[in-house]
Subunit: 569 residues, 2 copies
């Protein structure tokens, strides 16, 4: 669509604004249909975004989008309409707020619950600098389950500054919002118990304003004007309801399935195997429980949740609490499976150390979307987990070579006595799997070549297989090993192999992962190790294959290194 200037938007009539909303919605739908992305969440906030741009003076005023998966309309209204069709492609517009893209994006997000803290920091800096702009945090009700929000609310009276928090209440995280806070918000929406619940917010120093229909500009615009007015003297919580997926019936009806849309799913999903296996295992083993932090469907846990509702817990966007809960369930003899995306497990890092591994408890972390994930960009790549998990004592880290091996690892896990992390990507192939033993690698191709490759995970093993074919055509070959445990690595095999050229491949940053683990074993052996993995930088958005090739797992580069090794004997 064409660019809309700030001036044009400010002068538009209500009628014209409504028309603009339809254009934005169409553009979002068209682009997401083609490029994938966050659909329902972005459709829901179109009027709210138009209203905010009408009433506030961006980029002088600042807005922070919590999580950031609702910023498309904002991007379309801030000089990025013409490039918007490049959404989520390498070099194109990001699906999340990015400072490098526009001065209208002042603060980057991707994980939930940061927006109020960020808005407070921006507002406090404004006060200290003696400037006069306004600061808005747009936060979904799902994030009101997250502990960070309460830490920020607690700070309102400490920081003595002013922000506008717009609570975008659509009743959904990625999964439906759950728990006590959700019930409180629902009661407020029903008008059942407003006085005490308003007090809940006002005691923190917020003026509560609500409830307004966030999909109705006629109702919303005066509310925003009033909020801006109150904001002159104190912080405001403006409670608006929106409908996730607004304007597209199938999105409104299935907001969880249309929260994120993939342009073309190709492989089989690892997550489906997780749900199936856990369900099967739980039939015979009453100790098995499953925990998710607001992403039950995306993690494949739906079959388990339906079959064993009493042993299935979606605790909302509370990654830390979920982890402690698992530790305590394990302490009492249960066998908890905590399914979570690699990038979000970063939130529970301290609890993985302090609660699970510190007590050596049998919690199994099912780490989905590990490795480069692609189109969501910097905040969603799962490329740090091998690095931050390996230093933790008592933890075992497994990386299946395919979906069959994930199944086998899960079946093994129920009687494994300590903390176990299994990390796998979104998609792959079912394949087959031979017997697994903790800490033992598997030789996939044994050769007489002087080159050996240790690779973990399907992306790297599949890359190695393709490179092998190419190498063979040039007369070179290598022994290929499935390094299916990154902790402990197979010290015995590593030390006993005769090859002098050792190569490692991992779908993770190079610092602190498989390469370093094998290098520690080889120290003093005189052998030469070359590690391939991601460079020390944040990986932007693009296709996973593009990013892998560009940032460290490059077919030609690895092949060329192998041919060099081959040539030098």
């Amino acid at each position: 669509m064409r660019e809309i200037s700030d001036g044009e938007l400010k002068e538009a009539s209500l009628c014209q604004l409504k028309e603009l909303c339809e254009q934005l919605r169409e553009e979002i739908f068209r682009t997401v249909s083609r490029r994938g992305g966050h659909l329902a969440s972005n459709l829901g906030v179109v009027e709210l975004t138009v209203g905010l741009h009408k009433v506030f003076d961006f980029p002088r005023d600042k807005i922070v989008f919590d999580v950031g998966h609702q910023c498309y309309a904002h991007k379309l209204l801030s000089g990025r309409a013409e490039q918007f069709s490049t959404l989520r492609t390498r070099g194109g517009i990001s699906g999340f707020p990015k400072r490098r893209e526009s001065e209208y994006d002042c603060y980057e997000t991707g994980h939930a619950g940061t927006a109020v803290s960020a808005a407070l920091g921006i507002a406090k800096a404004r006060d200290l600098k003696g400037e006069g702009f306004e600061v808005v945090a747009l936060v979904g009700d799902g994030s009101f389950n997250n502990g960070l929000i309460y830490e920020a609310l607690n700070s309102l009276k400490i920081l003595k500054t002013r922000v506008l928090i717009v609570l975008n209440d659509n009743g959904m995280s990625i999964s439906p919002t759950v728990g006590g806070t959700h019930e409180i918000l629902n009661e407020m929406k029903d008008g059942a118990a407003p006085a005490t619940d308003i007090a809940l917010f006002e005691r923190y120093g917020l003026r509560y304003m609500g409830i307004y229909n966030g999909n109705d500009l006629q109702e919303l615009l005066p509310a925003l004007e009033q909020a801006k007015d109150v904001l002159r003297t104190q912080s405001v919580l403006l409670h608006v309801t929106t409908r996730k997926g607004q304007g597209y019936a199938f999105c409104e009806q299935e907001p969880e399935r249309t929260h994120g849309v993939s342009p073309n799913g190709t492989g089989t999903e690892y997550s489906a195997a997780l749900g199936e296996e856990l369900k099967e295992m739980a039939k015979a083993d009453r100790r098995i429980v499953a925990v998710s932090a607001a992403m039950t469907d995306s993690l494949g846990l739906r079959p388990f949740f339906e079959a064993f509702p009493e042993r299935a817990f979606d605790v909302g966007i509370c990654e830390e609490h979920a982890c402690v809960l698992c530790a305590a369930l394990a302490e009492e003899g249960m066998r908890p499976y905590y399914a979570i995306y690699s990038t979000f497990l970063q939130r529970a890092f301290d609890e993985v150390i302090h609660d699970v591994c510190g007590q050596n408890l049998p919690v199994t972390f099912c780490i989905d979307r590990a490795g480069v994930t692609g189109a969501d960009g910097e905040t969603h790549q799962g490329v740090f987990d091998l690095s931050y998990l390996t230093p933790i004592p008592n933890l075992t880290i497994a990386v299946p070579k395919n979906i069959a091996e994930l199944r086998a690892m899960l079946r093994m896990s129920a009687d494994f006595g300590g903390p176990l992390a299994i990390r796998y990507p979104r998609e792959g192939t079912e394949g087959a799997c031979s017997g697994i033993e903790i800490g033992r690698f598997e030789i996939l191709h044994s050769t007489t070549s002087d080159i050996i490759i240790y690779a973990c995970g399907e992306r790297c093993l599949s890359l190695a297989e393709r490179i092998r074919t190419a190498a063979q055509q040039k007369g070179a070959d290598f022994t290929l090993v499935n390094a299916r445990f990154v902790k402990p690595v197979d010290t015995k095999m590593i030390l006993s192999r005769p090859e002098t050229h050792v190569i490692t491949l991992e779908d993770n940053v190079l610092t602190g992962g498989l390469g370093d683990a094998i290098a520690r074993v080889l120290r003093g052996s005189g052998k030469c190790l070359r590690a391939f993995g991601y460079r020390d930088t944040f990986l932007p958005h693009g296709s996973a294959a593009e990013l892998a090739g560009e940032f460290g797992l490059n077919f030609d580069e690895i092949l060329s290194y192998i041919l060099d090794c081959h040539a030098c004997g």
Copy 2:
């Protein structure tokens, strides 16, 4: 003191219980005076602990101590009175709950805010197993600032189980409790606005009971009995007030200074230099702000907070929020200094990645109590930070060799344009310092020996100096380098040095720290690297020197390796 059996306690009269409280208090005071430990927090909960042991049936019933620095009376009442004099010594009684010590300690803590989540997990497992015991979480008001508590409260209605939360309200974290939640609790104590605030808790599914004097057994015992009664059908929040340091006037008057007591402070504190330098820098640089999460005094920030109250923020036990706040302040051009203990920075791991380094913002992390800390044990050792920080893109990691170098690094930091972590121990020496350049090491002793040691931080450099004296007596020597940047390491120096025997020393676990960083540079050089640091295990309590020697930084072992290198040329 002598052991008190459960039966004896159950049958004791009120008079006898009061006398028992005096004995417990004396024993705690006597032992902490000798061994160091948490004094004021433990003195405050004596009556509360006796009351809980009288009313509940431990260890059949379960109790989780939030943070755990208030469990001494519990230990004295659960078969550990005779060994209690070994408190915090290697092999002796831990200052925190430990499962290996007693079945009365069901869940281990050390970091704030985990107790309600843990209690919920234990209670849910109980329900699933069809058992009938009760679960108590004892939580200080300081932890009610922490986001984890709200994530757990949100789960009450999801998990549909029953726990008793005892809110031990003494108005203190380690620093005085701050913020909106604290004001709400204060209003409840004043009786000013009980109805709406009680609703705050009751909406989560808790029955609120309060407020009782937790230092008065006559008032407390019937309240606990009533709470136990209500607990049969629903979760209860029992709000009691206690006086931190109760019974010892100087503790009551100075609860922050007597929260933790060190048996014999020896060296100069790094934290004092932090406060002094920041205060000096802030006089000329209005961008400088300081943030602490409830530990202002222990971090040495008091002088800064007093001189620049408008630029100093203690946000309570909210490590994550503090980190996001710093990122946002930096985004707006301020220069935030976030002072925090190494072990607690684990809580903000995701925010260090997602908010600070992902946006490449100039936040300086002043990481205190890095390395082995000693007597607090597993949950408080600062031995992971080099490992979990090194993989993060954009971050620079500095390790001063002495206090003068910390000062120099701080002065350098204000104009450093990106995220910077400076990690240092509690105590050391002032010393002197030469010019610092980012990513450049410093040669402290240059020799013609074929051995070179790269060591970071005062503990390791001082160990190396002592080893050098011993080695010289045996005719050996080595070049000694102050590896003052762990990221980036001094690649140029590492590659250009002629020595073939390379040794690294670090006050950190071996996995992912300095040794691995230098090994990555040396890969392919044919040089032999031997890294010394801590083994892959949780380091228990004991003196820092004992633990260092026992778990990987051993004088004799390192000396012996050097002599071997010397002998083989």
